[in-house]
């Protein structure tokens, strides 16, 4: 065989093996989906099968009756959307102040911002809980939204993007008489729209997926749980209904999976340029 042919064969083998790895990798999620459509008594049938004796779409509607899962979804969406808005507004404003405005102490303050990036959120949960008690925010939606909205990450990332905008653009507008608020809203923000979108998506995902903090701060779970917390309740229920849990799990991953698939290009570029994202 010629050298070229050998390389061809190698490339084909490489493709096939890689696709097999990817398929094996997806097995847990396929298993999740398959189980979510099975009758309850066939979940642990041996040998494991992809399909049960029938496809049971009712599992999905029963999920919403078994626990107030519909409420959890709405809570999760509300918290994630509000949180995302707070993060975007606060980060964009301070990123502008730290990049395009000149003021005394700017770089010093920015260093403090950066230093807080090093502090793992988890170290703060105990004092944060105390703070929530003092605020009277225990078991409230505010407590799910605000405490983690002011991390330096968004500021840091958006600042990097503001810095790429030529100073002449904002300066030109100022000479034409636009105030800094005008410059910010009608010139700077539109220019960093892609970065804002990436930050928004990752922030939404973080809020949507967050588990430990809701577990700590939410007491009236039936009323105020978000999706992961609600999902964890299913497991504790007596006579665990695995097919319903899996249906709920599929629902829980639907919004984030949809965002990933729709916006893959932007998200992947976002990670590549800023190392931003979840874990």
């Amino acid at each position: 065989m010629s050298d070229l042919a050998v390389r061809r064969v190698r490339l084909v083998i490489s493709h096939v093996a890689l696709y097999l790895v990817a398929a094996a990798f997806l097995t847990p999620l396929v298993y999740m989906l398959a189980t979510s459509l099975k009758p309850a008594d066939e979940v642990f049938q041996s040998p494991p099968s992809l399909f049960g004796s029938l496809i049971r779409w009712e599992n999905y509607s029963e999920t919403f009756e078994f626990l107030p899962f519909g409420k959890f979804v709405l809570n999760g969406l509300a918290v994630a959307i509000c949180g995302t808005i707070v993060v975007l507004v606060a980060s964009a404003m301070s990123a502008y102040a730290f990049s395009r405005l000149r003021w005394r102490g700017r770089d010093g303050f920015f260093l403090v911002f950066l230093a807080t990036l090093m502090i793992p959120q988890e170290v703060l949960v105990v004092p944060m809980f105390m703070l929530m008690r003092w605020f009277g925010w225990v078991d409230s939606f505010q407590a799910l939204i605000f405490p983690w909205a002011f991390t330096a990450f968004g500021t840091f990332m958006l600042r990097q993007f503001f810095l790429t905008i030529p100073e002449e653009i904002s300066e030109g507008a100022r000479i034409d008489g636009a105030g800094s608020v005008r410059v910010f809203t009608s010139i700077m923000l539109p220019l960093i729209r892609p970065a804002l979108a990436v930050l928004a998506v990752f922030t939404f995902i973080n809020y949507w997926n967050s588990f430990m903090w809701p577990l700590i701060i939410i007491n009236t779970v039936d009323e105020k749980a978000t999706v992961p917390l609600g999902l964890s309740l299913f497991v504790g229920q007596q006579g665990t209904q695995w097919n319903l849990i899996m249906a709920a799990s599929v629902i829980s991953m639907a919004p984030t999976a949809a965002l990933l698939i729709l916006l893959q290009k932007h998200l992947i570029r976002g990670i590549a340029t800023s190392g931003l994202g979840g874990r």
């Binding site: 105990v126 004092p127 983690w148 430990m212 999706v227 695995w242």
Partner: protein
């Protein structure tokens, strides 16, 4: 500042325009305020509070008393805490290298000649954006007796698989394997981007000079992506020390205390038995540990990270 805030007209006719620094200063106070206030309230203040709490007996109700270093000595003599500390270190030592090897390996494998690499990236990234709770629950089903692994093995060979989450020798490895599956996609994307940024001519020149794939990997690719490797390993290190959700939902820390981690310990002390002082002291030990290891990373990087090529 206070006069300005009540709104002196900025440009009264005939007066000089305020200087750039002063004009911007007022705007900056407005623009930076939300983040500054939020960060002070929700990050800086809790850090200080946490440090204070660590030196107090701080029950949920009742008297708070200064305890000096008592919380810390209590912790270091507590067998549960020591076990959690060891477990956490074991998790990090297993998880970090596995995560890096898998993510670098796949990133290299998915080179520009692979068709469908965009779709593959999405596939490997999917569990990263999926709620950890959903991932942990489905893996519990995979691991448990009669679950996917045991069921398949029994159907194929007639022997049962170990009870991965219930047997002492297995539980930690099961948690690590699930965590790697869940988390490596993120680092893989970081490395993939770094690899794509290597100038093509470097690899082509090496090929012409007769360097095989392994040589190309160790001599060119690895040094070229070393900054990404440093970034990714540091971030992964920091987050893996805080491992919580996976063991919490898959094993509950068991069997025995085999998968009890530091973060679970802090959670338990803080929110099951309400010993906030003890919980804060535990959190600070975790924090100092993370800082120490990160510092070692930063010092060590000079030996292996190449920034200028």
């Amino acid at each position: 500042m206070s006069d300005d805030a009540i709104g002196r007209p900025a440009a009264v006719a005939g007066r000089r325009r305020p200087s750039r620094l002063r004009r911007d200063g007022r705007a900056a106070a407005f623009f930076a305020a939300p983040s500054m206030i939020g960060l002070t309230l929700f990050t800086l203040f809790p850090i200080v509070l946490s440090l204070v709490m660590a030196f107090f007996q701080w029950p949920a109700v009742g008297e708070r008393t200064f305890a000096g270093v008592e919380n810390f000595t209590t912790l270091f003599t507590d067998p549960v805490f020591r076990r959690a500390l060891l477990n956490t270190l074991l998790f990090v030592v297993l998880y970090l290298p596995l995560n890096l090897v898998v993510s670098v390996g796949l990133a290299v494998w998915m080179g520009p000649r692979i068709k469908g690499r965009k779709a593959l990236r999405v596939v490997f990234f999917l569990p990263v954006v999926t709620p950890m709770v959903a991932n942990a629950i489905v893996w519990r089903m995979i691991y448990q007796p009669n679950g996917l692994i045991d069921g398949s093995l029994y159907a194929a060979t007639g022997t049962h698989a170990p009870n991965f989450l219930g047997e002492p020798g297995w539980a930690m490895f099961a948690v690590v394997a699930m965590s790697v599956w869940q988390g490596f996609g993120y680092n893989m994307l970081v490395f993939s981007a770094a690899l794509d940024a290597i100038p093509r001519h470097l690899l082509e020149a090496a090929q012409i000079d007769g360097a095989g794939p392994w040589r190309q990997f160790f001599r060119i690719m690895l040094p070229m992506i070393s900054p990404a490797l440093f970034f990714a390993s540091t971030m992964t290190l920091i987050t893996s020390f805080q491992v919580f959700t996976q063991p919490f939902l898959m094993t509950g820390g068991g069997p025995g205390m085999d998968t009890e981690t530091l973060m679970m310990f802090v959670f338990d002390k803080g929110f099951s038995i309400y010993q906030y002082g003890l919980a804060s002291a535990g959190a600070w030990i975790l924090f100092v540990l993370i800082l120490g290891v990160t510092a070692v990373q930063f010092v060590g990087q000079r030996r292996w990270v190449t920034y200028d090529v």
